[in-house]
Symmetry: C2
Subunit: 151 residues, 2 copies
């Protein structure tokens, strides 16, 4: 992030005066999943392999490797932030649970965490397999998977 | 998050007009790690077990279980957001790498990802083992570890 982007000062931590922080997209998801109900629930069985693309990534990509696994952090911008309990998998027959014990997209800070495999890197785009995120979702971070502890 | 907190409208996604998003802490870390150089590098060998506490967590905790593993997402508020390449582990003899291929705290959106085990839950606090985060670090999300894929 450059200090002249977004109108926010580039001071450490990005603290805004009211105790909140500012998250700035580093790129966006191109995905065949369009519309809020298109995304499969995380951990679903029988997910078919689909390519998706992280585009306009602002950062050095040449150290990423095709074939390696990464963690993609997204901002699930179509989620609801005002719910603290949900019926898991949107199934009303499931008892309500606190969102922090589920992977629901609806949560106070709707950060998506996706473990995916890189299938190609071209310019500022990274093609990945099995990213369960809606088209246009902001990407906020990319991290390597750490072995063996996978922290 | 309630709509009267923080002065931000609780609309879906929390989009601010300039394309950024607002992250609101859901709690804070109490940790014996104080000062920027106190935190061990992620993936370090020989880490000793230390308890830390997630305090003032705003959300339903009774569905979390002592002994289970969770992913704690933090906002590493003392990190630098204006660097895109680093020497891994702050060792100048390591060749520079793009931050997205490292677990450096310094990155455009300094979100920390910590896989930890719950050792106790009391009121709005969760005691965990081996959380490598500085005292006072904001907590922004808690997610269950999904088995076996650990997405």
């Amino acid at each position: 992030m450059k200090s002249d982007q977004g109108g926010h000062p580039a001071r450490p931590g990005g603290l805004v005066t009211d105790g909140t922080y500012v998250l700035q997209p580093i790129g966006w998801v191109d995905s065949p999943l369009v519309g809020k109900n298109a995304a499969p629930k995380q951990g679903s069985r029988g997910i078919t392999r689909r390519p998706a693309r992280l585009r306009r990534i602002d950062g050095r990509l040449r150290d990423l490797e095709v074939g390696s696994e990464i963690l993609v952090l997204t901002w699930l911008d179509r989620a609801r932030r005002d719910v603290l309990v949900v019926h898991p998998r949107d199934d009303l027959t499931n008892p309500q649970r606190g969102v922090f014990s589920t992977r629901s997209a609806d949560r106070p800070n709707p950060i998506g965490l996706h473990r995916v495999t890189i299938s190609a890197i071209t310019g500022s785009a990274v093609e990945v397999q099995d990213l369960e995120a809606l088209d246009g979702t902001p990407v906020v971070d990319i991290k390597p998977v750490l072995h063996p502890l996978d922290r």
